[in-house]
Amino acid sequence: MIPAQFDYLAPSTVQEAIAALAEHGDDAKVLAGGQSLLPILRMRLNAPGVVIDLGRIAELQGVSEDGDHLVIGAMTTYAAVLASGAVSTHAALLSKAIATVADPQIRHRGTIGGALVHADPAGDVGAPALALEAELVIAGADGSTRTVAAEDFFEDLFTTAVGEGELLTQIRVPKHTGWGAHYEKFVRVSHQWSIVGVAATVRSEGGSIAEARVGLTNMGSTPLRARSVEEALVGQPATDEAVRAAVASVADGTNPPSDLNGDSDYRKHLATVLTRRAVLAAAGA
């Protein structure tokens, strides 16, 4: 089905895009790859008057290194992130999570920034961004930028710290060089959104876990970070028994949805099993 009518703008700089946003306000939707937006428009679940396509803004694309950070442009496609040796070396968790997103065609068009701002709790980018303590650079109306920690970025279902008239421009990821990583995604059929996903990255020292970071997908209205589990894992050997005990409480306090794929309690159970598996895999056990 064809979407409702809209006007189309394709700015070539961030400034132009911000200006367009300022002009059209609520009536505008940002097209950042469009792999979630276009189905919504086709189903006429949303009918913006203006669509602002970020696809022609070169400065928003690509991966670079900035000291101990990776800098990923918001309009970098999943495929480009996956092709980046820098990402797989310094933020392996991100590569592994993104490799599970949707299907190859979607990964050719969808962007990391688009996914983060869309903030679907079942999306696979939020949890690794949280676990890697990414920082999100947001450009504002007056030409200013501000940086928000991933922890503060996700506010609610489909709601982020990106305010009216603002754009997400960069994802800055602290390098986790040498950290093991695994993304454990649970689905019934492969093209599904995550029923539950667990992003784990681990720094090992002498056979035990020195540091661990764990993010959860679809265990609440936003991606979640499991800090108490991270702490409990420190110093533990990478054995089934030790990790099982350390992650046992991972679902405490979470409020996952209930739907055809599983009720809330089942998701909580899944989270504990998948966290154990993700951590063990990340630790190379």
Binding site: M1, I2, A4, Q5, M43, R44, F186, R188, V189, S190, H191, Q192, W193, S258, D259, L260, N261, G262, D263, Y266, H269, L270, V273, L274
Partner: protein
């Protein structure tokens, strides 16, 4: 005079049995296709449908003013505007004389009975403008309470159609005692309760969506003397009949064309509101009109499949010899009785007894209306449901007796030397060899090794358990002997028609009443005719799917095309030969009695004189020197009405791994050995089997149409109606044994539905087998990880064999069902959003 090279000298190897690659492919792999939605006609208008968002409501007002005033809009029609000419979507199979059947109007006039029903149609210059204007149609509904659950429907506490006074449509029974084909079922059960085994189970056949890949589309051109309709349909001939029967258009004024059709699986065995609405609008406006649905519209408007509760009581002796089976079905028709409608569950009546020798048998079905999408044939239609029920029960019986499930089947199945065998349901199976298929399947599967691995995993308490599922199935296909259909009050015959046209230049046109939509008839029919007439495969063109080209036909469904449709082709070919003989004799200056036809040549016995089929065709065409009084044509027509069904069978073995920590299931191995009689084209047969398997496996594992408590289809797109992908499936091991059918010339049996019919119970049996040691004896389909995991949790491991509770008996309101239900509400219709 010879205009073709003499091919008889190097007589080709037989075409039948060759793995010919398909003629159809060249167009399809290069994008040179004729899907209905591709059709563009001068002046063509595009339609958009306005559909009810409510499951049950009366329409109090429709305001079309704003839509009519929108850009590019020619007209907006309500049901009221179209009611004189729109006709009605009829059911062909009232299963009882007193069946209650609500009128199904293509565009609702005053009452909608399911979400998605059409209430208005917009005609505009472009499809975009039609869709834009459809959003502007303002409909006032008065919502009525909706009945959504089948068991609630049976109570009549809420009515789907208040005017009917009940939700019950009809009841139907087959009873071996009263039919004289077996004993009394109640007596058998009573005896078994005394000292034998009684197994009582209630199984759910969830609602499925056929999900053919091409959304349905219809183009109607009313500008000629005949109104022409192109439609993505399996049944162009049936469609023409139904239009003529209900719209006031004469049958001779209607031409229906099924161009390239992108899959059906029963889902396009329908005459649809959309087809009738498009026809009505095109006639009103006098302009060609096209309507193509979106996938979301397919999901709510195209008919669904399955949707039954099966209450089954199996009686057996202590040693596992089955003495009787009682079947009580509740079937959900959805909002309306569809084309086959209540007949779908009835098609299972002869199949619950399957390959087994039961002494007594009774089948009962009651059909009900609910405020959900209508239900009709989906690949297998009645037979997958039956096969599921009996094959699940045979596994339960094996557990009860304490033997391998293959052993219990062998104890009860018909032995190969007992064919032809008349079953307790009154069907006579012509041929089969269950022992041979099973032996081959076991060997290919590595049955004993997998059983050993299963034991090891059990003993070591492996978190990943292994289960082995068995399905030894048979089915009846090749619909159908017209007399039987008549006895069952089906509204049409089951014959098929064919014509063969011998062209002057030696090539051949084969016209078939079958209507292929992916089955490869062009290739298979060419192989058959090539052998029969001795003409090259490449010189044969198969024509179908257009009532002007193939005026007579009963179309393609029920695995009927090869065993009924191709039989008609063979008979037409034989008539061609007989008609050609006197002409050949005349050409050879011999007596007709001395003419022999072999490998494409007519020869004179005892001589080396001969003429080829193309030579006779040319001689006939020129007509210069034919025998006196002979009609100058060797073209021939044939119509074949089968006198029985065909009964393919097979043994399917499935190994499933169950991750007991998450409930996730993984298929490890799948072997099937099918006996479909003689095979025309092994390549096409394998393809049918593979595709059928995945559809059946998908019922077991992934698919289910679910509604919320407002009557909205929750699984209304491919996001939530989870079809499997290549990444979710495995490669299969398929093989065959061959017991030629004795009921048709080629000894073939149908194959189109076999994989789907057999595979579902094989998969569920495997999963239950994997977790039976946890105290699980059933899991609701689809066996989602959540359901499997919850079944394990609720099952409560049985520490020692023999400590299991006695088999539960049916109690009112407390069926032994659904240990893995996801919600405290009705398991199948849970309103989880």
């Amino acid at each position: 005079m010879t205009i073709t090279e003499d091919r008889a000298a190097d007589a080709p190897t037989p075409e039948i049995g060759r793995a010919r690659t398909r003629k159809e492919d060249q167009r399809l792999i290069t994008g040179r296709t004729r899907w209905t939605d591709n059709i563009q006609l001068p002046g063509m208008l595009h339609l958009a449908m306005v559909r009810s968002p409510f499951a049950h409501a009366t329409i109090s007002a429709i305001n079309t003013d704003e839509a009519k005033a929108a850009s590019g809009v020619l007209a907006v029609f309500t049901g009221e505007d179209l009611k004189d000419i729109q006709g009605v979507n009829i059911t062909a199979w009232p299963i009882s004389a007193d069946q209650k059947t609500p009128d199904h109007l293509p565009v609702a006039v005053s009452h909608v009975a399911h979400a998605g029903e059409i209430v208005a149609v917009v005609a505009a210059r472009s499809s975009a403008e039609a869709r834009d204007a459809a959003e502007l149609v303002d409909v006032d509904y008065d919502e009525l309470p909706a009945v959504l659950d089948l068991k609630q429907a049976a109570t009549d506490s809420v009515l789907a159609h208040p005017g009917l006074g009940t939700n019950t449509s009809a009841t139907w029974q087959l009873d071996s005692a009263s039919g004289g084909t077996g004993g009394d079922i109640e007596a058998a059960i009573a005896t078994a309760r005394e000292g034998g085994i009684v197994i009582e189970r209630e199984y759910r056949q969830q609602r499925l969506i056929p999900a053919f890949m091409e959304p349905r589309s219809t183009v109607v051109d009313p500008t000629g003397e005949q109104v022409t309709m192109w439609s993505a349909t399996q049944v162009p001939h049936v469609l023409r009949f139904c239009i003529a029967a209900t719209t006031g258009l004469q049958e001779s004024k209607i031409r229906v064309i099924a161009p390239d059709v992108g899959g059906g699986f029963g889902g396009k065995l329908q005459t649809t509101p959309e087809e009738f609405a498009t026809l009505a609008v095109a006639r009103k406006l006098g302009k060609p009109c096209k309507y193509t649905e979106t996938r979301s519209e397919t999901m709510v408007s195209g008919h669904h499949g399955r949707d039954q509760w099966q209450k089954l009581t199996l009686a057996a002796e202590k040693d596992g010899t089955v003495t009787g089976l009682k079947v009580e079905l509740m079937a959900d028709l959805g909002a309306y009785a569809a084309l086959v409608g209540g007949g779908v569950p009835v098609l299972g009546a002869w199949m619950f007894n399957s390959i087994y020798k039961f002494a007594a048998y009774q089948f009962n079905v009651t059909t009900y209306y609910t405020n959900k999408t209508w239900v009709d044939a989906y690949r297998g239609a009645g037979r997958p449901e039956a096969t599921y029920g009996i094959e699940r029960l045979m596994d339960e019986l094996a557990v009860e007796v304490g033997v391998d499930p293959l052993e219990i089947r062998e104890k009860n199945w018909i032995k190969h030397e007992e064919f032809p065998f008349t079953t307790v349901a009154g069907m006579t199976y012509d041929s089969g060899n269950y022992e041979a298929a099973t032996a081959k399947a076991k060997e290919l599967f590595g049955y004993d090794e997998l059983r050993a691995e299963q034991r090891r995993r059990r003993e070591s308490n492996d978190p990943v358990q292994l289960g082995i599922g068995i399905s030894t199935f048979t089915e009846m296909c090749g619909l159908a002997p017209s007399r039987i259909l008549g006895v069952l009050s089906y509204g049409a015959g089951g014959w098929e028609s064919a014509s063969i046209r011998m062209l002057a230049t030696g090539t051949v046109e084969v016209v078939t009443g079958s209507s292929a939509h992916g089955q490869g008839h062009e290739t298979a029919w060419s192989q058959i005719v090539a052998d029969r007439l001795g003409v090259p495969f490449e010189d044969i063109e198969v024509l179908h799917g257009d009532t002007q080209i193939a005026p007579r036909g009963m179309d393609t469904y029920g695995s009927r095309s090869l065993v009924v449709g191709a039989e008609a082709v063979i008979r037409a070919a034989d008539k061609v030969i007989e008609k050609a003989k006197p002409i050949a004799a005349h050409m050879l200056e011999a007596s007709v009695d001395d003419i022999e036809f072999s490998a494409g040549r007519f020869g004179v016995k005892g001589t080396d004189k001969s003429v080829s089929m193309p030579e006779v065709a040319l001689e006939t065409w020129t007509c210069h020197n034919l025998p006196d009084g002979i009609e100058p044509t060797i073209d021939a027509d044939a119509t074949f009405d089968p006198n029985t069904f065909s009964f393919p069978h097979g043994t399917h073995l499935c190994a499933m791994e169950v991750d007991t920590e998450t409930g996730a299931t993984t298929m490890r191995k799948y072997v099937c050995v099918d006996d479909i009689g003689n095979i025309v084209n092994p390549l096409i047969v394998e393809g049918q089997v593979h595709g059928g398997l995945v559809q059946g496996i998908a019922q077991a594992l992934w698919e289910g149409a679910e509604y919320d408590d407002q009557g909205t289809l929750v699984t209304g797109s491919f996001v939530d109606y989870t079809l499997p992908t290549s990444a979710d499936t495995i490669s299969f091991i398929t093989d065959h044994t061959t017991s030629p059918s004795t009921t048709n010339t080629l000894g073939t049996k149908g194959v189109g539905e076999a994989g789907t019919i057999a595979s579902t119970p094989a998969v569920v049996n495997a999963i239950v087998d994997a977790v039976r040691s946890f105290g699980v004896n059933d899991i609701l389909m689809p066996c989602t990880p959540e359901r499997v995991w919850k079944a394990i949790q609720k099952g409560g491991a049985v520490p020692v064999e023999g400590e299991r509770d006695a088999q539960p008996h049916f109690d009112e309101g407390a069926p032994n069902q659904d240990p893995g239900a996801a919600s405290p509400e009705s398991a199948s219709e849970g309103s989880q959003s």
